[in-house]
């Protein structure tokens, strides 16, 4: 797969394009313009970036106030702080008050690697899924990031988009269509389908190649929108595959996996299912790739998980 750039850089470039066209587009940062790769943006459009300092609660509250006056606001902050420190502001000032703020969680999941759990966001899907009126998106590659940011700009509701900072491979064909709430099927596989989101989609795609070598037909769905979940795509995968593996850079509790399991169970679809993510333990120290490898979020790791699941299913 051809390597693109970090989704973070794709986000910053897309935002600058949008902001050039709209003087009412404002970016709010919490001392995070550097980590948000917004240096060029700040130079090009100094009047369209507002600094609030290291104060995430105030970042989100102010974003709601600015949105109330018709500003098109992107509040940009590390995902870990944005969704934990400012959770109540997201819940009340943005979601409950129905202010269409775009909440951008940068360096999400375990992107900060060895900086440790204070800097990881493994709770954000779970926390925000339980909040009414905020959509959740985790783009997998540059294409999905660009499209998600553009879609968020026109989105009528509050939305949270999170991504990491490592360069991502290009995953999509040029004519792919992106829509919030509509999953993208990358491959179909009669044996197993990976339902992955964000930066775990790439290893899931590669896992299909590993499985193919063992004669196992594997598919991948990029479930970039965690809420609202594309139930149709999920049910379709459940009908066309013998087993499902969900993959996410998030706690195994309360995220994509449990969201999928809930849909399947309540629709009466009982398929072998494995939820791959970060287990409920003190996360191992390491870089993002090392943490992924430790928890089996690699092509080989995911292939092994799928094989075990299929073996159980066959037994």
């Amino acid at each position: 797969m051809e390597l693109g750039r970090p989704n973070l850089e794709e986000f910053a470039a897309t935002l600058l394009e949008l902001a050039h066209q709209d003087r009412d587009l404002l970016v709010l940062t919490s001392d995070s313009r550097g980590s948000g790769k917004l240096g060029s943006y700040a130079e090009a459009l100094p009047d369209q970036i507002v600094e609030v300092g290291i104060a995430e609660q105030n970042l989100v509250g102010m974003a709601a106030g600015l949105a109330a006056t018709g500003k098109n606001v992107f509040a940009v902050s590390p995902a870990c702080f944005l969704t934990a420190r400012a959770f109540e502001q997201i819940k009340n000032d943005v979601a409950y008050s129905d202010r269409p703020v775009r909440l951008i969680g940068i360096s999400a999941g375990v992107s900060y690697g060895a900086l440790g759990s204070t800097h990881h966001s493994l709770h954000d899907y779970a926390a925000l899924r339980a909040v009414n009126n905020v959509d959740i998106v985790a783009p997998a590659d540059n294409f999905e990031t660009r499209e998600a940011i553009r879609a968020a700009y026109h989105h009528p509701r509050p939305i949270y988009i999170r991504f990491g900072k490592r360069a991502m491979p290009h995953l999509h064909a040029p004519d792919t269509r992106f829509e919030i709430g509509r999953a993208i099927t990358l491959r179909q596989g009669a044996d197993v389908t990976f339902i992955a989101t964000g930066e775990t989609v790439a290893p899931a795609v590669q896992a299909c190649d590993v499985l193919a070598q063992h004669g196992i037909a594997a598919g991948v769905i990029s479930m970039h929108t965690i809420k609202p979940l594309d139930e149709e795509a999920l049910l379709n995968a459940a009908q066309t595959s013998r087993a499902l593996v969900t993959v996410e850079e998030h706690s195994v509790f309360g995220g994509l996996g449990e969201a999928c399991a809930a849909v399947l169970m309540q629709r009466g679809v009982y398929k072998p299912l494995k939820i791959v993510g970060i287990p409920d333990e003190y996360t191992v120290t390491g870089s993002q790739p090392e943490i992924f490898a430790h928890y089996g979020i690699t092509p080989d790791g995911l292939a092994a998980t799928a094989q075990q699941l299929l073996a159980v299913e066959l037994a």
Binding site: Q57, M62, A64, G65
Partner: protein, 279 residues
């Protein structure tokens, strides 16, 4: 509206607040009675807000951070004609829009509040937008004194001064009591004036239950060009009803039938006295 008319309105508002809390069997009696003179002067004398101009981008804005005193806000909005007065009787009822904290489902409410320490950040955002667009509106926000222990208020305050938001008017309903006891015994706030000055506000203190003093203070805004305005409005929790005034227990106590009758009688006597003095 002149001072006398405002004074009479305050008494009417107090009667309504007590009546709807009694009817709903829930509400924040003490805080609504302490802040209602402030809302009265804002809505009937100072702010450019009405049902007719509520979608005008140049209207003034009011954000009530101390959301629990919602009965005062709903009462004033009803009187301003944002919705029929009878709707106040649905407060807290099943499927009512009149939730026990401010909600945009109720016409005239600018922002949903209720969790403390949120209003000032939102107000700062609205005020900053006004500055960016060169609009003339002002943003008024009412904070409870008890909520000032929320750190987010100070994050917002720092930012207001940094962006020189002299179109922002922060009013602290300084009634001195919170649910556990006097603010100075819970976690001391004083010196509030020195704290806000240190954060870059220009500060004035007034009697927040005195119509003339409120008018005089609010009409001096902006206190200093380039600085956010802060008014410490010294009030009495439960103001206007002798047996409710300054009583911690009345934070969210609901009047009994008898207490309501006594309170309304006391307020009507005050009303009669006021009319007599004028005549």
């Amino acid at each position: 509206m002149d001072e006398q008319a405002l004074k009479l309105k305050s008494i009417e508002y107090r009667k309504t607040i007590l009546t709807i809390i009694h009817h709903a069997k829930a509400g924040h009696t003490g805080g609504s009675l302490s802040c209602v003179d402030i809302l009265n002067v804002l809505y009937n004398r100072v702010m450019n807000i009405s049902p007719q101009n509520f979608s005008d981008p140049d209207r003034d804005r009011y954000i009530q951070s101390k959301g629990h005193s919602v009965e005062a806000l709903y009462t004033v909005l009803a009187d301003k004609g944002f919705f029929p007065r009878e709707e106040l009787n649905t407060l807290n009822e099943y499927q009512s829009h009149f939730i026990g904290h401010p909600t945009r489902k109720v016409p005239g409410v600018e922002q949903n509040t209720g969790a403390l320490g949120h209003g000032l950040s939102v107000a700062v955002g609205v005020a900053l937008s006004g500055k960016l667009d060169g609009r003339s509106y002002r943003v008024y926000t009412l904070l409870g004194d008890g909520e000032l222990t929320e750190g987010s208020s100070w994050e917002a305050g720092m930012t207001a001064a940094h962006y020189k938001l002299d179109n922002l008017v922060v009013i602290v309903d300084r009634n001195g009591l919170q649910i556990t006891g006097p603010t100075e015994r819970v976690v001391a706030l004083e010196s509030l004036e020195a704290k806000f000055r240190a954060f870059g506000f220009e500060v004035r203190t007034c009697d927040g239950n005195d119509i003339a003093d409120l008018i005089n203070t609010l009409e001096q805004v902006p206190f200093e060009t380039g600085k956010p305005n802060l008014i410490i409005a010294n009030t009495v929790k439960g103001k206007g009803v002798s047996f409710i005034e300054d009583q911690i227990g009345w934070h969210h106590k609901v009047p009994t039938d008898e207490q309501l009758a006594d309170a309304l009688a006391e307020l009507e006597r005050a009303q009669a006295d006021l009319v007599k003095v004028t005549a």
